[in-house]
Subunit: 426 residues, 2 copies
């Protein structure tokens, strides 16, 4: 939409990758168009806190326009990308076509249902603010309905919560739901005992947090046991509907299945007609450009990037940020006619996951940590990395308040103005 | 749902009236069932802040179960009341019938469209959290679409914001939208100047804030002028559709019409087959009972209560609280076989309204205040009266942050995972 003669950079997606690419082009002699289908940047690592009623949506999401308002070379466009015309060098949205000299695709990923897309309505995943408020409604409504029903079997069904996938998100969800049931809601109901809820964490692999070391997995498993989460390892979901989920042949009646397994990249590889891996990630060159398109870069969860050991760079925020920063440097160098850095190199800053409100595991390159200290480090790191999210003071004071009182103030059932009728259960 | 032999009190609605009736029956020898169709109590006086992206929903709403958790004689039921069987003394919800010995109907009000209910989709009112997030989405999407369109007439249309009704809510909405356009969003867009937005406040009566003294109305009018709000007095809406609103014969093209005019009580009078005023409010006895039903009380916005001068008690939070407290006292006295207070007497604690972030008007029985001091008093009063909403510290720190930075952090477009297509404009 710019009409100047400056180099046009189009960046698709305002997640960590796209946003850092944008920010690192501050002051460069380019016109940047940043396209996202939402008007907010999402601090995804804390999204599970919204789904479990601990934080408000606006605690973990921040308007994109607010973040880049002082960066004069950026135009923000709210829009949905539907294709790329690499011959004409145009990006196609549902409303417009836009010319680019450099294109950065940072369009992220969604959950994969491994060919069972019909499970999605019954087992929602957690990627956007609307996902999170829908999951929050589902969890809270299960308790409400359990309180209202006179049928003991139905009550037991409603108090079964199943989380599929024991990566960081699954572990965080299961741990927090357990605390919600055992502590936060314990005094809220008169006819049910919310503490009797079963929280089941299902993992197809042999251990929880498979990307971490075995020792940290063992620690996490013990922490989950202590919270009363039942962990089912080596079992995959074989069926899923509105009434139950079937895990390794045994059917568990439930109204709440949450999906935290598998990743499907955005259609970037389809738009570019580029080779992709099984998850749909574009197999990029060493400089993160798409094969055959030196002016198109693909970064973050929608790219398959290898580290120096030949392993896939994990789909976590620090990796996306590094890639965003790298492509910004490449583009700036090319625009200025300077030598661009040859290849992206991933710097492993570690991984972390939290289990409820008292334990976490942190795996740094030369250090492994678990327990309460790890939890506090995790908390401080996350507040530190909240770029621009509301006031960090507000989030911190919210957290401290929660930590002291066990209250979860964002316990609102929204999005449906009325109580769902029983017909809606089917 | 209680099976004990204690006196059964059913309270419908967890607004200010119902909640205060409940709280004032703490420790009484009764079983209380508190029914609401939402799981939260709403601090309605600040709801316009959610609609204008200043506060998060969970800043102004609090789970009912959390509020009454320590009050052992209360059972909370999430449900929609659809009728009352006064012969059987049962309340009918969509799921159950429930026996009562005493019934308190505090079921509130919605907006009235004066026979033009077809205007509602084009001119939403502000009563629930979902209303507020829908209005927030509408306001923010208008700016986004204006930025994206290439048609100057459409751009001008999208930047017209019309608020109908100049009572406190209308004045607060118009003032805050003006500040949003003139300050908060001023640096956010590249193609439009958000400061050029027109904010039009329409009032059928001869002055803004008609319930206040003339002097305060004049002050409010001047404060609105300074914020750049165009006030159209003595004009009623005669037509309204997705493209425009017609006011006194002249058509204003717009995509954002907000309705803050007129009140329609809940169907309590229909349930009871009781006489009502034009707004549908039950004409109650001096002890707030419904005529012919000494065991049924009607309070708050759904009751027409007269003060000692014969004027209608206003539909504001302090009035509802006083009525809730009064009926609790009556019920407790009857249960204990003591003398009940004969008649409800309204104690006028004053009215207040705020215009943007620097002025307010306060009308107390013996004092009238306007200006910046009034604004600060208004702020302190509201934080003070936030019963249990998250942590008041959080809300206060949020506000202070906003006040200093003009940021409105809750500027999220949620509820639709994708950008609306242009088809949706019609």
């Amino acid at each position: 939409m710019n009409t100047s003669n400056r180099t046009k950079v189009v960046i698709v997606g305002a997640g960590f990758g796209g946003l850092f690419a944008t920010r690192c082009l501050r002051g460069a002699d380019v016109d940047i168009t940043l396209i996202d289908r939402h008007n907010y940047h999402l601090f995804q690592p804390l999204l599970y806190q919204v789904a479990t009623a601990g934080l408000a949506p606006s605690d973990v999401a921040w308007p994109i326009r607010g973040i880049v308002r002082t960066q004069q070379n950026v135009t923000v466009v709210l829009g949905e990308v539907i294709g790329v015309d690499t011959d004409a060098r145009e990006i196609i949205t549902s409303d417009h076509r836009m010319r680019y000299d450099y294109l950065v695709l940072a369009s992220g990923a969604r959950h994969a249902y491994f060919g069972h897309e019909d499970w999605e309505p019954h087992a929602p995943g957690l990627k956007s603010i609307d996902d999170a408020t829908a999951i929050r409604r589902r969890i809270l409504m299960a308790f409400e309905r359990a309180e209202m029903t006179f049928d003991p079997a139905e009550r037991a069904r409603l108090l079964n919560f199943v989380v599929v996938g024991a990566g960081p998100t699954g572990v965080e969800l299961a741990g927090t739901i357990a605390e919600l049931a055992r502590r936060t809601l314990a005094a809220d109901f008169r006819r049910i005992d919310s503490r009797s809820a079963r929280i089941i964490l299902v993992e197809a692999g042999p251990r929880v947090l498979p990307a971490f070391t075995e020792k940290l997995s063992t620690y996490a498993q013990r922490a989950l046991d202590e919270l009363g989460v039942e962990v089912m390892l080596g079992n995959a979901v074989t069926a899923c509907n509105a009434h139950s989920v079937t895990i390794g042949g045994s059917e568990i009646p439930t109204s709440t299945v949450l999906w935290a397994a598998g990743v499907a990249a955005s259609p970037a590889s389809v738009w570019l007609r580029a080779e992709s891996d099984r998850a749909g990630r574009v197999l990029v060159q060493a400089d993160l450009s798409a094969p055959g398109h030196s002016d198109v870069f693909v970064i973050g969860d929608t790219a398959a990037v290898m580290d120096s050991a030949g392993d896939l760079v994990p789909g976590i925020a620090p990796a996306a940020k590094q890639q965003g920063r790298y492509v910004a440097r490449v583009i700036r160098a090319r625009v200025e006619g300077k030598l661009a850095p040859v290849a992206f190199r991933y710097r492993n800053l570690g991984k972390l996951a939290t289990i409820g409100r008292k334990s976490a595991v942190i795996e740094l390159p030369f250090l492994r940590l678990s327990g309460r200290l790890a939890w506090w480090l995790w908390g401080v790191a996350h507040i530190y990395f909240l770029i621009g999210v509301r006031s960090p003071i507000t989030v911190a004071s919210n957290w401290l308040w929660q930590y002291v009182t066990y209250a979860r103030g964002a316990r609102l059932i929204t999005g449906e103005s009325r109580v769902e009728s029983s017909a809606d259960k089917s």
